[in-house]
């Protein structure tokens, strides 16, 4: 029987593409370590042989490049899966962590912590991730309330999101002006990027992304039920308000953890789920897991471009994702307009 539930073939392809992106990203960098030698080094690490790299080169590979790739993958997965979840909950193809004010809220939360207690970016349960989560959840709640009070519709929600995001960003700027000495630190971070990434950041983000992704994957079927509308979902024994709350909390957590390590990276949450829907099917049971893998792939590749296009200078990765994402967003917008 034909169903669009996740096919093993699709999962395998997505995994292979991700693996290829990781490999390509490991071989390419501002410092040319030599592809053969990097491959030999990976082989040596896997088999316990002797490393062909110098200590400095090994450090560049294992302490800078690889954690940066892992972090990029985690952030991309988090942004893409939360985009898919927001689109499902709001039944709005253009919902995304950035357009809903979630990212701006997370940014504000993180900024407040950086301003009040600079250098306290430590652990997964430290003040920064918590503040970022509260900011993200607050941003989404505000957007959803404003959007609903102004009437239903794709455009209304997005306009409310734009207003909320601008407001939160303005508050963030205000907080920054009051704390001029942290200005530089936060501004670099706001442009988005993995310039300061290491294994420590990976450990901060990993638990959040795993938890949020697991919740969203488990809820994927319920998101399909929500797509029938609240009355039908309710007549099927589902409580729409509860499901929405759970999914929004998980998506906000994913957004917040992404934003708190990498700043603002736009469009991943829109581009990836849409490409997945085009290629593999529209059921959230397909879209959620494949967006995780696709988001990781997309951001790892975008970071390769950011690192190497103007090496040794780095492009902010947000610029790279916007270059591909903005035109794509317009295409989706046109499609949504035609269907409405």
């Amino acid at each position: 029987m034909a169903t669009t539930r996740l096919r093993p073939g699709h999962l395998l392809i997505a995994l292979l593409v991700l693996l290829a992106a990781v490999l390509a990203s490991t071989l390419l960098g501002a410092v040319d370590l030599g592809r053969q030698r990097v491959l030999a080094e990976i082989g040596a690490q896997l088999t316990g042989g002797t490393s062909p790299l110098t200590a400095r080169e090994a450090a560049i590979l294992w302490e800078l490049r690889v954690p940066r790739i892992v972090l990029g993958g985690l952030v991309g997965a988090a942004l893409a899966v939360s985009g898919a979840a927001f689109q499902g909950v709001f039944r709005n193809p253009l919902a995304d962590p950035y357009l809903l004010g979630a990212a701006a809220g997370a940014g504000l939360g993180a900024t407040v912590v950086v301003a009040v207690a600079p250098g306290s970016t430590g652990s997964a349960l430290g003040p920064l991730p918590v503040a970022a989560f509260l900011g993200a959840a607050g941003g989404v709640a505000l957007t959803s309330l404003l959007g609903r009070s102004a009437g239903a519709g794709t455009a209304t929600l997005l306009l409310a999101g734009v207003a909320v995001a601008s407001f939160l960003t303005a508050v963030q700027t205000f907080v920054l002006q009051l704390n001029a000495e942290t200005l530089r630190q936060v501004y670099t971070w706001m442009l988005g990027g993995f310039g300061t990434s290491g294994w420590r950041q990976v450990l901060v983000v990993l638990p959040h992304v795993v938890l949020a992704s697991a919740v969203l994957w488990l809820c994927a079927r319920l998101l399909d039920v929500l797509a029938l509308g609240d009355d039908e979902a309710s007549s099927l024994g589902v409580r729409p308000a509860r499901v929405r709350l759970l999914v929004l909390a998980a998506a906000s957590l994913a957004t917040a953890s992404a934003v708190s390590v990498s700043g603002l990276i736009g469009f991943v949450g829109i581009v990836v789920p849409h490409v997945v829907r085009l290629l593999a099917g529209a059921s959230n049971r397909v879209v959620v897991p494949l967006s995780l893998l696709g988001g990781a792939t997309f951001l790892i590749l975008a970071d390769v471009v950011a690192r190497t296009a103007f090496a040794p200078a780095e492009l902010p990765i947000g610029v790279v994702t916007a270059f591909t994402g903005a035109p794509f967003f317009l295409l989706v917008l046109r499609g949504a307009g035609r269907r409405a």
Binding site: M1, A2, T3, T4, R5, L218, C219, R221, L222, D224, V225, A227, L228, G229, D231, E232, S234, S235, L236, G237, V238, R239, R277, G281, A282, S283, R285, R339
Partner: protein, 256 residues
């Protein structure tokens, strides 16, 4: 399943859209709720489905519906709204599988038994050939059948169908109602539906409930309810009631 309503009032605002409605629908029988626009037909169905708050008593086989847990109620009562939303990219099978939701534990996925139920429903509704098609590509009649299949996959003893023939031509409307009729005969399913086509309502339902301004204006067999004085008064229309060879009423509008 036997449905009983005793002095049921329901609605969204302080002024209820449905007032003091009592009715009794026996197991395996079909009640059609008729009435002019805004009479409260859809609200009555939603109240039975538990989607709108009600006062008064609503019982299924003698047990109050309000006492049922969310999922229990969903296993007993299937509901198809007047304008169902069909998620664009889903296939027919995926869509119908969503009807199994009340039978699954929260967050669980469908097992082989659920797939078998769905395959059987698709077969009975002649949808097997469309199983892998995207909902987007279906015609109006196929969409209505898919919605019915989604509700049937719920395997509920009581079906609430809000205007199931909306947008269907007379042939497709008949085909759909024939299908519902067969199901209730074969499975003993109880059916409550709103129907705007009075002739079809009279031909398929055993009992009609005529609502006007939220209250019961008349109830009984089609022959008792589909009369010129009753319909003219409550619909504010010029109407002639004819009779077919087998004696079932035909409601025809008149120009003058």
């Amino acid at each position: 399943m036997r449905l009983e309503l005793t002095s049921v009032s329901a609605g969204y605002s302080a002024v209820p859209a449905v007032r003091d409605v009592s009715a009794r629908v026996g197991s395996g029988s079909w009640l059609a709720v008729i009435g002019p626009n805004g009479a409260g037909k859809s609200t009555l169905l939603k109240a039975v489905a538990g989607l709108v708050r009600h006062t008064g008593e609503l019982t299924l086989d003698g047990h109050p519906v309000a006492a049922l847990a969310h999922r229990e109620r969903a296993r007993a009562i299937g509901y198809a709204p007047q304008t169902p939303q069909l998620p664009d990219g889903l296939t027919v099978t995926d869509y119908v599988l969503l009807g199994r939701t009340p039978h699954l534990r929260p967050l669980a996925r469908e097992g082989r038994a659920d797939l078998a139920v769905v395959a059987d429903v698709l077969d009975r509704l002649d949808l097997a050939a469309l199983a892998g098609r995207s909902l987007r590509t279906l015609s109006g009649g196929e969409r209505q059948r898919a919605v019915l299949a989604r509700v049937l996959a719920q395997q509920a003893g009581l079906l609430l169908l809000d205007e199931p023939t909306t947008g269907l031509d007379v042939g497709h409307a008949q085909a759909l109602l024939d299908l519902v009729d067969r199901l209730r005969r074969e499975d003993g399913t109880t059916v409550v539906s709103t129907l705007h086509d009075l002739t079809l309502a009279g031909q398929y339902a055993d009992q009609l409930l005529l609502l006007h301004d939220g209250a019961v204006a008349a109830r009984g067999t089609p022959a008792r309810v589909l009369t010129e004085p009753l319909l003219s008064r409550h619909y504010g229309a010029r109407i002639t009631v004819l009779s077919t060879a087998d004696g079932s009423p035909v409601v025809a509008p008149r120009r003058t």
